[in-house]
Symmetry: C2
Subunit: 349 residues, 2 copies
């Protein structure tokens, strides 16, 4: 039986104060913004903790308080893959981001000014620590499931490494145990652009992201050599500009720099051999989903995660999805992921 | 029998004055810089005309006048694929570039100032017209072979379309009849960066080029997650910076913008159905080489060129090369191309 929530469906979990960052530096009075859907059971054993990719907020699905669609709208709700009749689904805004959680755009209580460039260097492990603070705040000792796509997949791995026994199951989608050279190269170029000129740089970074998150085939099918309806030569340029415009309006350049670098620097092997890490984590089951066409978090990286989990004795399912939408598939082909996740969660009910 | 050259091995061919650009606009007093290796036969039937990729100069190989290695050093010389005992090899600097041919960095005779942004929009067809001026200057009516890699491959196609009967054989390497959406997307991002800030933009553009010319696997094998020996996090960032530094020093931003856009806008179909174009061109033989791992000028685009040539009745050989060096293979794996080209040219002697 479940009991009603006794806290708001949007809230802030305080970070330990001072909060010590994984790579050094500290902040005081920090907090992690989160949203929830569903109800926490009396035993508090039914929490699903969702990490996000680099850019989304904690608004993974609509709610009475915020009816706008979330970034994973189709996956969360009564009867959905993350079934809110069964689970309390929690999504958090990453530490260092700019949608409620403490980050470079937040006010430093010591100075009364925004942290800006003084915000400490961020590690994926810090994002995992933020998640731990959210679970503490909600009184959840052990999550039924930790899950995340992209950067959030790596954050879930970091959480498993740092907090053994604090999650029963693990789901990663298009994450990585350590970013590839190619992905590092592309992200470092994005950061160079942002460092040189924050606003124009964010635009360029988003354009480059958009051009590489999707597959070459998808762009060809959607836009081909269709002429621009604006001031560009080709329609694909209009599309990139639209994406860039949106992003530059709502994202903080310093948050971008820190989150982007955090994923490059993340290496699960810092916590020991991945098999040893997963053994220590005491995970029962895992689902690893990868997209064949993903250029940034390759299918090979997903296979490595699954293999290490298997070797650690975790009952693991590895699902390969083929989608021309590439790394973005988890956002734009939600029904595909929904089916796989629902099936896995029901099978393991 | 061949007779000695009666002109310098480096020179300038005058453009028609005024020279009318394919997309409108004109210049007066323009010239095309070229270099040659070997000797033109008395019948002037042994000329090999080489177009370059976006960034190289006409210095395709070393010579007594300039002993520094050229960009295709291994392919040109006595006994090499382009055998200078048999052929007069000519390489030209593209119109609009910045290594001797008239371009945005040249002085406009009408104003006494550099053309800069006033230089007309460039088309691949203009580069082909520049080549025609070089052949006129050297008294060559019909080239034994026109050849080019990357943008130069497309320039060779444009030449065949514009000057029927002026080339016996065609060789394209990693070119295109019409750039792919993905390549357009990536190049438009490079141009955005250069337009916004020419110097920093050229650096970013070159970094992005470097990260996409090669395959993800090549970067992984060469650099992995090796740490930076400088101020970066990773060695791959040092590498990108070194490439960027060099490029920003020697390349003109306005030339970059024009050449990059020219390859996006090129579409052989403007000259008619490709099969009709190649039939009209009166080519006898063709060799089309593509690299399986090329992300920018895909193997599919090479197959399309070869198929159209075949259908036009041109005796065509289509060679697929597998190389982790991707689009850059023609520069860094010259021995592979050398073998294929030598074999083809000898077979068709």
């Amino acid at each position: 039986m479940v009991t009603p929530l006794n806290y708001a469906t949007r809230g802030f979990a305080p970070l330990p104060s001072p909060f010590h960052f994984f790579r050094g530096g500290e902040i005081t009075g920090g907090a992690i913004a989160y949203e929830t859907w569903g109800t926490l059971g009396a035993a508090k054993h039914n929490a699903v903790l969702l990490f996000t990719g680099l850019s989304p907020s904690a608004h993974a699905a609509s709610s009475p308080e915020d009816p706008s669609p979330g970034w994973w709208e189709q996956l969360i709700g009564p009867g959905a893959a993350f079934d809110t009749r069964r689970f309390l689904v929690i999504c958090l805004n990453s530490l260092g981001s700019c949608f409620g959680s403490t980050g470079p755009a937040s006010i430093n209580p010591a100075t009364g000014l925004r942290y800006g460039k003084d915000f400490p260097a961020l590690a994926i492990e810090d994002i995992a620590a933020g998640a731990s603070a959210v679970l503490d705040h909600l009184g959840v000792h052990c999550a039924a499931l930790i899950a995340g796509p992209s950067l959030g997949g790596s954050a879930a791995l970091a959480f498993a490494a740092l907090y053994p026994g604090r999650a029963q199951r693990l789901l990663t989608i298009s994450g990585t145990m350590a970013a590839s050279t190619h992905a590092i190269a592309l992200r470092s170029i994005q950061r160079d652009a942002v460092k040189h000129d924050p606003i124009m740089g964010l635009r360029l970074a988003r354009k480059l992201g958009t051009a590489t998150y999707r597959s070459a085939q998808e762009l060809a099918v959607r836009f081909g050599r269709q002429p621009s309806s604006g001031n560009n030569d080709f329609a694909v340029q209009d599309y990139l500009e639209k994406q860039a415009e949106r992003f530059a309006v709502f994202f903080d350049p310093q948050s971008f720099l820190r989150l982007s670098r955090a994923i490059d620097l993340f290496d699960l092997r810092r916590h020991g051999d991945p098999v040893a890490v997963f053994t220590r984590a005491k995970l029962e089951q895992a689902l690893v989903i990868g997209v064949e066409e993903d250029l940034l978090f390759t299918i090979g990286e997903q296979a490595e995660i699954a293999a290490a989990l298997e070797s650690a004795g975790v009952t693991t399912r590895f699902e390969r999805i083929s989608s021309l939408t590439g790394h973005d598939a988890f956002l734009v082909a939600q029904e595909r992921f929904s089916a796989v996740i629902r099936d896995w969660l029901n099978g393991s009910a």
